[in-house]
């Protein structure tokens, strides 16, 4: 009905069809031999083969050899999703002298073998899809990739250890980096830790020199207390709008002497110190922590008298001989152009208060989250590393409960990967600092990492107790005199096969890692996707673990999924390398899937003009026709679908190509 004939009228089509077994991934559910036989009988097919691993070197070589020897001019590969190996097979065609866009992939793995259970039906489906592709490729054209110059600057969003590492690597390679951090200082979660597992080396000794390097590096522009508001453009040429929130201190003149904090009219710190997880107080004039970078104070307008009442003698101003205090500081908007973006926005820890009330957090004083305990054991923390409970006492027994907000359908289903190890670390530190009996309550101990199992064994030798079982509740219900006035942990000991009641004085909840609550907004801003749990989605878990589906946007650290510091640093390095590999080429190659208008048949109706979100379509008054600026076109095809005269053609997705597919997937039976 809708057959519009043969797009380019080639009569000498010579098609090769290649059916991949993918080991047994495809072959176990699709009769690949039969599929290849059927394909061989399809019109214009010169050769059809099946092979164990088409993407392997011999597989690709097979395609190349056929192109050369059998003069193939079209190639159809039925294998995995084109999102995975289309570049591979296009490359093979190119090496054999065939324009890469004469190659088309058929997805018989993700969309067929892996999702069906009936071998016959799956086989028929594969044949249908290949028939569609065989007819489709008839209409394929030789296309050229467009190249556009790339902006060599890189934007790194998030200044935790991941962002710091990525920024330093790129800057050291001689490229300019904009590092944007939402908080007042870079450092992220790692800056809050005292020690790191399994080596128990001091977190600050690893991190703070790197933070200082960031500040000093001539190739890094550091904007803290800033957020990316908007991102336009595409790979190689992004335009980002950064909002720099006022901290009411001039960053260029402040030298970080901290005199203003002493001078603040509040003689004693009175307000919740967010950096110390609420375990201490700060003044309205404050600096998050002594080693903060930049070493610049900030005023909290929510608590500062000058902002709240307008009446304050402002002794901070008097004492600052650099005149750095600026109550009138306004929000600033910066617009920057970059070629690549690395997202390293991190994670948030699970908040147990309302979500798992059975563990008593927020009900009983001496129940802490692990992050609070990190501050408590930190020599730069609120108690200078002395483990003192909220009531001033020292614990005789401590219970550490693993998997809070992890591995549970009621909270988060995933394993947060770091909790077992940091629980071991905290167990060691708490035992060392207090001499208390320490109990770990775990579901499974997960210590996969270099030196991790050894660390676990060391803890066992140190006399830390391990009880396998998911804790049911923590409360102050005492039955025996020993339990009076203490916290009682109730747990089914699954190794002993009975229920235990363990009285302790302090409970540590090993809270899991989850995506930031605004990860969804960030995802939209950068036009990337999320995994089912809400972490950012990598392009491929193994082949492209730091890329996203959006070209030029890379991931590093826990925003992509829970990981420990070694993995985060490694991934940040990889993201930096990817970004450098992209920008160092100088130009970026774009898919030629843009649209163009056939000047002859355009009726000048202007239907398409308002549809293009990129204003790539303009109207030539003199000729009464529309024209597409290929450089602006991103290749969505929305205008193509709307053109009443069928004058707009999208490369790689031409009407004839789609109609061919429709016709052939339905031509059977």
């Amino acid at each position: 009905m809708m057959d519009r004939g043969n797009g380019n009228g080639r009569s000498d089509l010579r098609i090769g069809v290649y059916v991949c077994h993918c080991g047994i991934n495809i072959a176990s559910m699709v009769d690949v031999k039969r599929v290849a036989e059927q394909a061989a009988a399809m019109p214009n097919v010169v050769v059809a083969r099946d092979y164990k691993y088409m993407c392997s070197d011999p597989g690709q070589e097979m395609v190349q050899q056929d192109i050369r020897e059998l003069n193939l001019n079209r190639v159809v590969v039925a294998a995995c999703t084109p999102l995975l190996h289309e570049p591979t097979f296009r490359g093979a065609c190119e090496r054999a002298g065939l324009n890469p866009f004469f190659c088309h992939m058929v997805n018989i793995r993700e969309h067929d073998a892996w999702v069906h259970e009936d071998r016959e039906k799956a086989t028929v489906k594969a044949i249908d899809l290949i028939r569609a592709a065989v007819r489709r490729v008839k209409h394929h054209k030789a296309l050229e990739r467009r190249t556009v110059p790339i902006n060599p600057n890189v934007l790194v969003v998030g200044g935790g250890i991941a962002g710091i590492q990525a920024a330093l690597k790129i800057a050291s390679a001689g490229r300019h980096v904009y590092l944007v951090e939402r908080e007042l200082s870079i450092g992220g979660h790692m800056a809050k830790f005292d020690k790191t597992f399994p080596t128990l080396d001091c977190a600050a000794c690893i991190l703070t020199p790197k933070m200082s390097d960031v500040k000093k590096h001539p190739n890094i522009t550091l904007w803290t207390y800033s957020e990316v508001d908007k991102v336009d453009g595409y790979v190689g040429n992004f335009k980002a709008t950064v909002r720099r929130k006022p901290r009411y201190i001039n960053e260029d003149t402040c030298v970080g002497c901290l005199e203003c904090i002493d001078a603040c009219v509040f003689k004693e710190p009175r307000f919740t110190d967010e950096y110390n997880e609420g375990l201490s107080k700060r003044k309205p004039m404050h600096i998050p922590f002594p080693q903060a970078v930049p070493q610049v104070t900030a005023i909290d307008p929510e608590t500062c008298l000058r902002f709240k009442t307008g009446k304050c003698k402002s002794s901070c101003v008097t004492v600052c001989d650099r005149n750095a205090i600026d109550f009138d500081q306004k929000e600033r908007i910066e617009e920057i152009n970059v070629g690549a973006i690395i997202l390293s926005t991190g994670f948030q820890t699970f908040e147990p208060k309302d979500r798992l009330p059975q563990y008593g957090y927020g009900i009983y004083d001496n129940i802490y989250t692990a992050l609070e305990v990190e501050r408590l054991v930190n020599s730069a923390g609120p108690t200078e590393g002395e483990v003192v409970l909220r009531d001033g006492s020292k614990p005789r027994a401590v219970g550490i409960i693993h998997c809070i907000g992890s591995r549970d359908t009621k909270s988060n289903i995933w394993c947060s990967r770091v909790c077992c190890m940091y629980s071991l670390k905290l167990a060691h530190l708490l035992k060392e600092r207090t001499g208390a009996e320490v109990y770990n309550f775990y579901i499974d101990m997960r210590t996969p990492g270099k030196g991790y199992e050894e660390f676990y064994n060391k803890l066992l030798e140190e006399g830390v107790h391990f009880i396998r079982g998911k804790v049911g509740a923590v409360n102050d219900w005492a039955i025996t005199p020993e339990e009076e006035g203490r916290l009682v942990i109730r747990v089914e000991d699954t190794l002993g096969g009975f229920v235990r009641r363990v009285p302790v004085d302090m409970v540590v909840l090993s809270t899991g890692l989850e995506p930031h609550k605004d990860a969804e907004d960030v995802r939209r801003k950068f036009n990337i996707s999320c995994s089912p749990g809400g972490f950012f989605l990598e392009r491929h878990p193994k082949l492209a673990p730091v890329e996203t589906a959006s070209g030029g946007i890379f991931l590093a650290g826990c925003c992509q999924g829970p990981k420990d510091i070694p993995d985060t640093v490694a991934q940040a390095g990889a993201a930096a390398a990817e970004a450098l590999a992209l920008i160092d080429k100088g130009v970026v190659e774009l898919e030629p899937n843009t649209a163009f208008i056939d000047a002859e048949s355009c009726s000048g109706c202007k239907s398409c003009l308002s549809l293009c979100p990129y204003t790539a379509i303009s109207f030539i008054e003199a000729e009464k026709r529309a024209e597409i600026n290929e450089a602006l076109c991103k290749g969505c095809g929305t205008c193509v679908a709307a053109c009443p005269s069928g004058s707009i053609i999208q490369n790689l997705f031409e009407d004839e190509e789609i109609f061919s597919e429709i016709a052939e997937v339905l031509s059977n039976g």
Binding site: T81, V115, L537, P613, G637, A641, L666
Partner: protein, 172 residues
């Protein structure tokens, strides 16, 4: 149950960035769904030309499924909204043509929603199975036969009238 034997044929148009990727995820997660669906990849649901949908039905599809990014998530800013407008238009056209509502479906499925691909496909296959075959090509053939019959009948009547007229002429 009626139509137990009937296997519906569903053509799907999935956008590259969300729904096609979600279908990949369903595969990677080894979710199982009905094999009645044939997925055609487009860069954006905004590329879904209403003619694609009409053509699929005309060529024997029993159902057509369109999958795009959630509102606000379109990789191309607003292609999915354009798709939604066309979908509403198509809904009316299909109703006018007597094609049941459940045969055409638009779903927003993000890249993380592999389970939704499974659910939507299974649901749709069952709904369309319950409706039975649409078989527009068969109906076209019937209509064509009907038209031919009508043509022939008109021709016969015309011929008869001509003959009668000629006979009258000769008589006079």
């Amino acid at each position: 149950m009626a139509n137990q034997e009937f296997e519906p044929r569903i053509v799907a148009f999935f956008c590259n960035w969300c729904t096609y990727t979600a279908a990949d995820l369903a595969g990677v997660s080894r979710m199982k769904y009905a094999s009645n669906i044939r997925i055609i990849r487009l860069m954006c649901s905004g590329r879904v030309d209403p003619q694609f949908v009409m053509d699929a039905f005309a060529r024997g599809a029993d159902g057509v499924l369109i999958g795009g990014c959630h509102p606000g998530d379109c990789h191309y800013i607003s292609g999915n909204y354009k798709c939604l407008r066309r979908y509403h238009m198509l809904e009316r056209m299909m109703a006018d043509l007597g094609v049941e509502k459940d045969r055409l479906r638009l779903e927003w499925i993000s890249a993380s929603e592999g389970d939704k691909v499974k659910r939507v496909v299974n649901e749709m296959v069952e709904q369309v199975r319950a409706l039975g075959p649409l078989d527009l090509p068969g109906r076209f053939a019937d209509w064509d036969a009907e038209m031919r019959e009508l043509d022939e009948k008109v021709q016969r009547e015309h011929d008869g009238a001509c003959e009668a007229h000629a006979a009258k002429e000769t008589q006079s």
